[in-house]
Each structure stands twice: as C-alpha cells, then as structure tokens.
Amino acid sequence: MTTLEVEIWRGAEEGRYETYEVPSQPSQTVLDLVTYVQRKLDPSLAYRFACRVGVCGSCAMTVNGTPRWTCRTHVQKVATQGRVRIAPLRNLTVVKDLATDMAPFFDKVQEARGRFIPSDAAAKSVAEVPPEEPKRKEADAGIECIGCGVCHAACDVVRWLPEYLGPAALNRAWTLVNDARDGDRIGHLRAIAEDAGCHACHAHQSCAEHCPVGINPTRSISGLKRLVLMAAIRGRL
C-alpha cells in the first residue's frame, strides 16, 4: 500500500506543520486524511466537519495553498507527488489546528444587512414570482451559498482590509436586492455602501475562482456597485 505524506498545521495562530504518513486509498477525500490522523495517529488533532457531502460548509481548509471544501475534494486532485499540506482557512483566526473561528465571517453578513426584510410578513399566500424574471435569475445564481468561507479566505482585499465586508456577505446582499419580496432594498444598499463595502472590491475574482458551488460573487458585487452608484448619484442613500 502506498502512503501519502500529509503535513498538518498544529497550534493556533502560532504553530507549525507536523508530518504524518497516511495510507492512500482509492476513495479518499482530504477530510478523510485528517480523520485518519485524528483517529489513528494523533487523537488531539482538531478540525471541523458536519455533513460530509458539501452542504454545511464547515470543513473548508487550505489544501496545498488553496482554500477548499475538504469533504468533497478527492486527494488525487490535490496531492503533488504524494504530498498534501493542510492548513486552516486564511483570513479567519485559528481556534485550534484546522478549525477557525467563523463568527466574524457571519457577522459580516449581518453588517451587510444580509437577511431578508419582509415586505408583507403576514401575507397569507406565497408570492408569485416567475423564475425566468431577470431579477429572480440573478438572485437564484447566488442563493446556494453554503457559507463555507472559501471565498473569504481566497480574497486578498479581505486580507489587506480586514473590515471589508467580503465576497460572501456582498453576494448575499445582492440576492436580497433582487428578491421581489424583500421590503428594504435601499436599506440593503445603504449597508453595503458603507466605508468597507462593495466598492472596496478590485475584481480579483479569486472568490469566483474558488467557490466550490460555482457562485460568482464578482458578478454580484459588480451588480451592487452599479446600484450603489446610481443611488448615490441620485442622492438616495
């Protein structure tokens, strides 16, 4: 049986890589490597996962320098010459080993007013919204975000300007301003026009490049830039 050389970050913000030998298997994800290490080699290794099928967004880590969802990343896809280096996600603080504190990431969603504001909360029936309406299509394109933080980790502006709202939060805001049922479009725009808002994005597109579910936050953010620009010029902010 061949083995893989797996380097894993141990510690918190301060730490080091430790190397482990993990037997290679035909069906093996990066999450499986980490699990093997915790179960068989070092019981104190900390990492996070829940669903194991790419819906919860808990398991993202940096794999050979790239942020990825580890439960859906086959080792063969990332191993280079039998080596895999696994680190926690960038741009978040490390709690322990591979687990980061994701609360600041979700705080940003709130800062971006990334939540539905009902226009008619007491309505007794479900609104009619044709799926082919252009705005609905825009919203649908960004709605399946799993909140994994991969885009947040990939974005250099988040790194350079820690208060920047970041791609996931802005993407959520974009889905809301395109939601015909939302009652506070201007409120969402105001939130993302604040000082570290959408205009801080330089269209690096690392977010879109790495999003595991194929969302394109760059597209959403540029949409927001246009709406904010119009609203600002018209004095509506």
């Binding site: 069906s27 499986d32 179960r39 669903c51 859906r72 709130q110 909360a121 009619e128 799926p131």
Partner: protein, 571 residues
C-alpha cells in the same frame, strides 16, 4: 457545589436545526424581552440534518390536495402507529409554516413558469405536494433561519455540547443543562426557565448512515437518563441508496438521490444482474423499505461489489438527461471519484431517520416540567415510517410551536430553580471518566457497534439476532466505560467527543434493540423475519422504552385512533 461556570437564561435551546432555530424565532417574536440562548454542538446553522434536506417539504397547498389527504398519506405511510393528533397538527402546521418561511423568513422555493409554487412528486404520496429548492432545500431553509437568528439578540453558544439534563433539587422539574464548551474543554451549567431538546436524533450507530457527523443521539440518551419515555424506537428508516466506498471514507453512507431510481436507474448485484423484480413488481421503484430489504438480501447472499454493496447504474439511460436532471448528484459523485453517468456506483441501504423519540404533546411539552422537545428527537408524528418530505415539516412545525409554548410557560411562572448539585457533579464526573482510564481503542469499539447494529438490529431482524445484539451492546457499554483517553488536552478534543458520542449511541442502541425485540410483527421500517406479517392494525400498539437504574424497560400502549380507524379514511 461544583466549581463549574454557571449562567442563567430564560430559554435554553439545544440544537440549531429546523426545530431549534424556529423555536428561538417564535419565542423571540412572542416575547422579545426573553433571554434566549441556543447551544449547539457544531456551528449555528451549519450542523444537523435539516441543512441536508434534499428532496423537500410536504405541504398540502397544491391544487387538488387537502389536509385530509396529506394526513391520510401520513397515517397510511406510518402504518397506523402515528399519534393522530400530532400527525394532524403536522399537516395543518405545514401550511402555516411554508407561508411564513417564504414571507417572513425569506426562503424561496422553486416556482412553476407562471410564478406559483412548484410541487414535486415524492414516494408514498397520492398528490404531488413536495415544495423544494432544487435538491438543496435544507440549505435554503437553514441559511434563512440562521441569518434571522444571527440578527437578533439571541445568545449563541456554538460548539457547546449538551451532556446532561439536570433536574431541580426537588426533582419535580428541570433546572438546566450541563454543557461542554468544546473549544476550551470546560464545563458550563446553564440554568433555564425552559429547555428545548432539539438535537435531532439521527441513527448514526449503523455501519452505513446518512446524518451529519455531529449527530449522535445525545438528546435521546439525555432524555432516557432524565427518566423520559421514548416511543417506537425500533422504527429506524433506511434509505436504499447510500454510497459505499470503504470504511475509511466519510463519504460512505451518504445519500445517492432517490430520484435516480424514479428516473429509471437500475440496481445490480455484484455480477451486474438486476434483481429487484424478484422482490416487487415495481422493480427499483418499490418503496424505500422493500428496495432496502431486497438489496440487503443480495448482500447477505454475498452477491456484492468490492466494498460489500450492490450497484446503481444509469448507463443505459440518456447521459444528457442524467447530467441535466441530476447535476448535483453527478458532480458530487465525480468529486469523490465515481462516474454516475456512465458507470456503476456501489451502494448500500443506509440508516437515515428515527421515527421514534421522546414522548411529547401537541404543545411540545414532555413529562418533565420545564423540558420541551421538537424535531427528530421526538416520536409519534410519523408512526412506523416517515414520508419523504415530512421530516423537515415536522422539525419546523413543532419547533415553532415549542417556541411559543415555552414563551408562554415562562410567562406563566416557570422560573429558575436550584439544580440538583449531585446531578451536576455526576454529569461532569461521567464526562471526565475516560481521562482517568487507560487509553482504549475507540475505533474498534465504534466499528463493532456499527457492525452489530447493522447485522443484528438492522434492516432484517429476528429474535436470535436481537438478543445477541442486546448482549453485545451491554458488553460494549461496559468496555466503553473502561476505555480511557490519553490526557493530552481537553480543548477541541475530537477523540473525547468520539467517546461521548459512543456513550450516547450505545445507550440509544440499547433502546432500539429492546423495542425491536418487543414488537413481534413487521410493519413500516421494522421487519422481523420471524414475524414477517403485519399484525392487526386495529390492535396496533406503540412501544415505550424507559431507563431505570441503567436497565432498559419496554412496555406497549395501544394506539388511540382519535381521528380515523384502520379501514376508514378522511375526506
């Protein structure tokens, strides 16, 4: 008095699935002055199974549908074991809930081209009534609920694992909960005026299982230890098609979508032959339980693929159709190395859902004052089988109800009461026990538990197997008690978490085995090869399990046919 950190809150909600989050929102709506705390084992909104819901949400809103029909499908599906009032409240509540999910919380479900809700077909239903968001319905629901919770002043205790329900000093009611802060390894006691158990059951004690990794029946184990009754614990639903790719990958057990069979997928044995025609004229399109048993039969006869499963294949169908219609499934398989379009994918039946759970009433009250329950932790709504689409309806409908009843309970005088200090001490001591023992082989214990539940308390059961299983479970319980952990660090110690999970799983498994032995007929998810017939529906009984002095006791109670009797229907 135990020296652990203590806090007080009005409402303490355990779990952040559909049940937990809606309870928090409804309680907060009802009385914004309440101090609400959600404690969850994983991250808020990112753990549990509601998020994993694929198929969708059953609601009687489609033209031609009615509450009565949804109710009757639920009762027929449940083989007359359902608590009929709970089932009625479910179908009624689902309508209310879907409308609120859309209009108040912002979920958006798929529409027809004309803009009206789309309803899809789901097995076992006489009308297309399943509302969905593609095949990622759960993400939409939980994301929307979580962002609403995040926006409010609701306190979050993420990565806090509930360990034990602590009674009041006089034992008359609940005082609070002992939790383990996973990140620091420290304990906290949270005293609350009302506590919601919404940890979501989850049959993860089987070799193959679908639920998320954070679920380990902690809620059910805590309830048993607190003296509560669990009903119909033998009812464990298996999903016929789970991926199997070896025991060292977490992919094993995860669901391959049911729609594949509906769309014409074939199931093949190890030598590539179809076999379902031998079990049911509907072939692969038979119901979950029949397909699961057919597959299991082939596996027991040794007609398996390399990993011990059978195969599902779509290769005889139009690849473009498969790619288009099952995009998510095709990429998921491809990501982990399987070709769903042109190849054979090895599959096994996989433990999916627990119909059984804590006995509760229409207001989500349990027999312990101050303790409420909702979601997959509870039993009674689904009877012997759960319809696809009724699971998330259950957690969201009853979660909301629980929030309202709890708010009312606090208002009407449910205060903070002094805890039984000895119980707190004991809970902490129990959790710390492994650190003072010689390190044991948890992997071996886990694999043995998985295997014995699969073989002896699984898809096909009989008296000999169940008795053997019970004995083995008792031994495992003893061995786990002896098995220690290296005392390295308590902070974010996943191996400690594994130990605690095994502890809950073994106890819950004992309840399942005992209830399964008690039920001497076959119905719904429960199949006894020594009693293959379904007994009299008229004289249907529920099993009730309790824990007394660490011994499992099982009794039965007749089902009350409060709305319909077998043979009748509502219209």
């Amino acid at each position: 008095m135990s020296g652990i950190e203590r806090h007080e809150t009005d409402l303490l909600i355990l779990g952040s699935g559909g049940a937990g989050l809606l309870a928090a929102l409804h309680a907060d709506d009802k009385d914004p002055s309440l101090k609400i705390t959600i404690a969850v084992k994983g991250l808020l909104g990112k753990s549990g199974c509601t998020r994993m819901v694929q198929g969708g949400y059953n609601v009687a809103l489609a033209p031609g549908d009615s509450l009565q029909r949804h109710f009757m499908d639920t009762i027929e599906g449940g083989k007359w074991l359902n608590h009929q009032e709970l089932a009625w409240r479910l179908v009624e509540g689902a309508v209310e809930r879907i409308i609120q999910l859309e209009n108040r919380w912002g979920c958006f479900f798929d529409r027809n081209p004309d803009g009206k809700l789309h309803f899809k077909a789901f097995a076992g239903q006489t009308v297309d009534r399943t509302v969905h968001k593609g095949d990622l319905t759960g993400i939409e629901i939980i994301n929307r609920l979580a962002e609403q919770v995040w926006a409010r002043g609701i306190r979050r205790l993420e990565e806090h694992r509930a360990l034990a329900l602590i009674p009041a000093r006089d034992g008359e009611r609940l005082s609070g909960v002992v939790l383990l802060d996973v990140r620091t390894g420290e304990f906290r006691f949270i005293a609350a005026k009302a506590v919601l158990l919404a940890t979501g059951g989850g049959p993860t004690m089987y070799l193959y299982h679908t639920p998320s990794g954070d679920k380990s029946c902690d809620g059910l184990a805590m309830a048993l230890r607190a003296g509560l009754k669990l009903r119909d614990m033998e009812m464990v639903q298996f999903h016929p098609t789970g991926l199997i790719a070896g025991k060292d990958t977490r992919i094993t057990g995860t669901i391959i979508e049911e729609g594949l069979r509906g769309a014409g997928g074939h199931i093949l044995d190890g030598s590539g032959e179809r076999f379902m025609h031998r079990y049911d004229p509907r072939n692969e399109r038979a119901t979950r339980d029949i397909v699961s048993r057919g597959m299991y039969d082939q596996m027991r006869a040794g007609k398996t693929g390399p990993n011990g499963g059978v195969f599902i294949t779509m290769k005889h169908l139009d690849p473009a159709m498969v790619r288009r219609q099952f995009k998510g499934m095709v990429t998921r398989c491809a990501d982990v190395g399987f070709d769903l379009v042109g190849g054979d994918v090895e599959v096994v039946p996989t433990a999916h859902y627990m119909m059984g759970g804590v006995v509760f009433d229409l207001g989500c009250r349990t027999s312990l004052p101050g303790l409420f329950a909702a979601g997959e932790d509870t039993g009674g709504v689904h009877g012997a089988n759960r319809l696809g689409g009724n699971g998330v309806a259950n957690s969201t409908v009853y979660g909301g109800i629980a929030g309202e009843t709890m708010a009312a309970f606090v208002k009407s005088g449910g205060g903070i009461v002094a805890p039984d200090e000895a119980a707190i001490e004991a809970a902490v001591a129990d959790a710390l026990r492994p650190f003072s023992r010689k390190p044991g082989d948890l992997n071996d214990l886990r694999e043995r538990l998985y295997r014995l539940m699969w073989d002896d308390v699984g898809i096909v059961r009989d008296e000999a197997g169940l008795t053997r299983g019970q004995k083995a479970l008792d031994e495992l319980a003893t061995e786990l008690g002896e098995a220690g952990l290296p005392d390295t660090t308590r902070a974010f110690n996943l191996t400690w978490a594994d130990w605690l999970s095994l502890d809950s799983l073994i106890l819950t498994s004992r309840a399942i085995a005992a209830a399964a032995l008690k039920r001497d007929d076959s119905r719904g998810a429960h199949y006894r090869s020594d009693f293959p017939e379904t007994g009299s529906l008229e004289r249907s009984e529920n099993t009730v399990v309790t824990l007394k002095e660490n011994r499992i006791a099982v009794t039965t109670e007749p089902v009350a046919f409060t709305r319909v009797r077998p043979g009748q229907t509502l219209s």
